[in-house]
């Protein structure tokens, strides 16, 4: 007869008292700092004034959401946010994987660690510094234009061109994060059994075949988990990099939901409006995450839950 849950729990507790104790602070952290604040999401449906507080502010139902949906820029904001995220995903997601695979093949230890250090370093540079550099280099007289003219092109103000904005944004993100992102893949690679490689070599498989049949399937669980999590943050493009890089000339491709809300929020200090938009974002993200997880379960053995 299977024991009831409480009996099993008690038994397990007695045996692993210390482990439970260890996890208590973590649980508390989540309860206090992640779950309890969700109560504040209510202000998305209210007309919130700080002095009245969350409880006493009047209800306005879906007014804040409607205001957002009816905004002239709603379509453009969604389009820019989604496109920028998708570009980041399509180009930025494979980059660390490719780098990890390449690093894995390097024989010389010295060269390998030198390359790793060089690629990790940009991750630690503050965003403000990176965008400052980008803005300087993109000037008509700046470094990027020097390179362009060297290859026979014409000088132009790169960050004023809406067509170039996404490329600059994504390329600089890749440059900054590819090294750091490859760490997790490198560690997954080290977990692939080397005997498999030997067996494959004996069977006559070349480097490319080995990669397709051993390496990639070996790190597939890691890739799928990372991909699922990335999809879950698709709509969450942060505003910091955007507001540092954009200007009115590039609003049409650069202005995303969070940067628009930042401008609106700063001028109005409209907490309810920004919360409503944030909630909208989160709901979309959650839906995407559920879909991604379902697909991962269907097509592979790994999934987030």
């Amino acid at each position: 007869m299977k024991e009831t849950f409480s009996v099993r729990l008690k038994k397990d507790f007695r045996r692993n008292k210390m482990l439970y104790l260890l996890v208590v602070p973590v649980l508390l952290f989540y309860l206090i700092f992640q779950y309890r604040p969700m109560y504040g999401a209510l202000i998305a449906f209210k007309d919130y004034t700080p002095t009245l507080g969350v409880a006493d502010s009047p209800w306005v139902g879906l007014d804040n959401f409607n205001r957002f949906f009816n905004s002239v820029y709603f379509n453009r904001l969604i389009k820019n946010t989604v496109l920028l995220s998708v570009y980041n995903l399509v180009f930025g997601f494979p980059a660390p994987i490719i780098l990890a695979l390449l690093l894995n093949e390097i024989k010389s230890k010295k060269f390998k660690s030198a390359t790793q250090t060089v690629t990790y370093l940009p991750h630690f540079i503050s965003l403000i510094v990176v965008t400052g550099m980008l803005r300087d280099f993109s000037l008509t007289s700046g470094l990027f234009n020097d390179i362009i003219t060297f290859f026979g092109g014409e000088r132009s103000a790169l960050l004023q061109n809406p067509k170039l904005y996404r490329s600059i944004y994504v390329a600089s993100s890749i440059w900054q994060e590819v090294g750091w992102g490859s760490i997790i893949y490198l560690s997954a690679l080290s977990g692939v059994d080397s005997e498999l490689y030997e067996a494959a070599q004996i069977d006559g498989a070349g480097k490319w075949k080995q990669m397709l049949n051993i390496t990639l399937p070996g790190i597939a669980p890691t890739i799928i988990i990372m991909l699922t999590m990335k999809i879950g943050t698709l709509m969450n493009m942060g505003y910091e990099k955007t507001i540092l890089l954009y200007n009115p000339a590039t609003y049409e491709t650069a202005d995303i939901i969070s940067s628009y809300v930042y401008r609106v929020g700063l001028l109005e200090q409209d907490w309810s409006y920004s919360t409503a938009i944030g909630l909208f974002n989160s709901i979309i993200n959650l839906t995407l995450l559920l879909i991604a997880n379902k697909l991962a379960k269907r097509f592979s053995e790994t999934s987030l839950w």
Binding site: P50, L139, N247
Partner: protein
């Protein structure tokens, strides 16, 4: 054993470093010299009838007041708290009130302000841009229960302020709400000349070299900028900081066409939105033409103050728009170190016709709503707070806020308060702005009336001293919108509309100037702004204006 010790040490060091971030960030603390014992100010004779004649500063010992205010960066360079400055100490000694100053991190006053409100633990006094920044306006701040209405308080405890307002009825009108409520102790620019601080400027040494006169019309500007480009090799003859809203809105070339990018008061006494008027099309056409010819900086949209400063001082640019102090003065001083011939001159606001008097020019209202102090509903000793603030509007307080401590930071020379070398030529090598900020508030803002004589001495270079006359020569005062507020019901609608209009306007202006959008589409541009509700916004503004005029 040694291994354990090393690892223990490393662990402690790591924990200590991670906790370092928890400490208060702040400017370096300069060891302040012990303040000389202040001779207590003479009792301010009250002029108001409802005032007991026995009241005198400094007040008897009493409750400590908490005072929240943004810390100006000229102060924070050397002090982390206003109470540590000579000014702060003198204020407390002269009024007899102990004040605990609290400051938000630099440039984060808006965010911190909201957090304080949400928290509910309000300090006694809050210095903030109540008029422009409190959502819904100052009347809402009162109805929300954040600050106290001050009418009775001013009548009972503030003879100095009452007297000043009685003598200056137009200022009196500016600082009330539409309903006639006083809500703050205001920052007032005491003289009209203090209100035009921004204007166009260009390289005088280049003009002399090329044999050109200072331009006064758009055509003359065109000639000068072309000469700068072709004969002086300036790749960006005209440049300025696009990312600063204040400078964008005071574009001198828009003024030349009798319009502006934002709201202005028309000659018909109504509020207009310059960016939607037909004259604006002419302005844009000229700018697009200049941009095509390479007379305007190609990177216009991405410029910030560092890049503009670098261009202006190095000779890549020849003309710009900016403040007399932090741009004209700063650039002249910096560039003259390596190029002694470098000279900047302030140019008058241009017009389209030779000899015409500029109809528009930059000018601010004497009361802009900035840096004014309100008494919050958490204040227990309202009388004490009010009297402490009222000190600034009396004679002794006026001198303290504008000139500092007599004998230390200024001396009366033939009836004129002249700053001492401690300010003008600081022995520790501090720039004037920082030396001043340690002793006075006149060099930035606060709850007092700013004195013109501070500016006369702050501008040390002749080209700076000329600026109020050159830039003030316009009819701009007639076109600046007075400090009006929409009603609390309308303000949300107004901000929704204006957010979209502003975004659209900023985008389209650049598109027109860069040539990506043809000027022929100007009418579509206006139609789009109408669709966003521009007329409704103008309606709200005009209603607010009518209420203001009826005050």
């Amino acid at each position: 054993m040694k291994k354990k010790f090393v690892s223990l040490l490393t662990a402690t060091a790591v924990i200590a470093t991670s906790l370092a971030g928890c400490g208060q960030g702040g400017g370096s603390q300069e060891t302040t010299k012990a303040p000389e014992t202040q001779a207590p100010a003479q009792s301010t004779e009250s002029g108001g009838a409802a005032q007991s004649a026995e009241f005198a500063y400094p007040m008897a010992a009493g409750a400590k007041l908490t005072y929240w205010a943004p810390l100006n960066d000229n102060v924070s360079a050397n002090y982390s708290n206003l109470g540590d400055t000579f000014f702060g100490k003198a204020l407390m000694a002269q009024t007899g009130v102990d004040i605990e100053f609290m400051h938000p991190p630099l440039n984060q006053q808006v965010e911190q302000f909201s957090l304080i409100l949400a928290d509910g633990n309000l300090p006694d006094l809050m210095e903030y841009d109540w008029l422009p920044l409190y959502p819904g306006g100052p009347e809402k701040a009162i109805t929300d229960g954040v600050i106290l209405p001050l009418n009775d308080i001013i009548e009972q405890y503030c003879p100095n302020l009452s007297k000043y307002l009685a003598e200056n009825p137009d200022i009196d009108r500016m600082i009330q709400t539409d309903e006639g409520t006083y809500y703050c102790f205001p920052f007032i620019r005491g003289d009209g000349k203090l209100c035009n601080t921004i204007g166009p400027m260009m390289r005088k040494d280049w003009l002399d070299e090329l044999g050109l006169e200072v331009p006064t019309t758009i055509d003359e500007w065109h000639t000068v900028l072309t000469a700068f480009k072709e004969q002086k090799g300036a790749t960006a003859p005209f440049t300025y900081e696009q990312d600063r809203e204040q400078l964008r809105d005071t574009d001198p070339f828009a003024y030349a066409y009798n319009t502006t990018r934002t709201f202005y008061l028309g000659s018909d006494g109504k509020v207009h939105y310059g960016a939607a008027e037909p004259e604006f099309k002419d302005y844009l056409a000229t700018m697009a033409q200049w941009y095509k010819e390479g007379l305007i900086d190609a990177d216009l949209a991405t410029l910030s103050v560092d890049q503009v400063s670098a261009k202006m001082t190095s000779g890549t640019a020849g003309a710009s728009v900016g403040w007399a102090g932090s741009r004209l003065g700063a650039w002249t001083k910096a560039a003259q170190a390596t190029n002694p011939d470098y000279e900047l001159v302030a140019t008058p606001y241009p017009t389209t016709q030779k000899g015409a008097y500029p109809e528009f020019g930059q000018i601010e209202n004497q009361y802009s709503g900035r840096a004014s102090v309100a008494i919050t509903t958490s204040c227990k000793d309202v009388e004490r707070a009010a009297r402490m603030l009222d000190y600034a509007y009396g004679e002794d307080g006026h001198f303290l806020y504008n000139f500092g401590v007599e004998g230390e930071s200024y001396n009366m020379v033939d009836g004129y308060p002249a700053y001492t070398d401690l300010i003008l030529d600081n022995p520790d090598g501090l720039p004037i702005s920082q030396a001043m900020a340690a002793y006075i508030r006149g060099c930035y803002n606060g709850p007092f009336v700013q004195d013109l004589r501070y500016l006369e001495q702050y501008y040390t270079l002749q080209n700076q001293k000329d600026t109020p006359d050159i830039w003030g020569a316009s009819n701009g005062k007639a076109h600046v919108v007075p400090p009006i507020t929409p009603t609390t019901e309308e303000s949300k609608e107004y901000s929704t509309i204006m957010n979209e209009v502003r975004t659209y306007r900023d985008e389209m202006i650049l598109k027109f100037i860069f040539g990506t959008e043809s000027i022929d589409n100007f009418d579509t541009y206006i139609a789009n702004m109408e669709k966003m509700g521009l007329s409704r916004a103008l309606e709200i503004q005009n209603a607010a204006l009518a209420r203001y005029n009826a005050r």
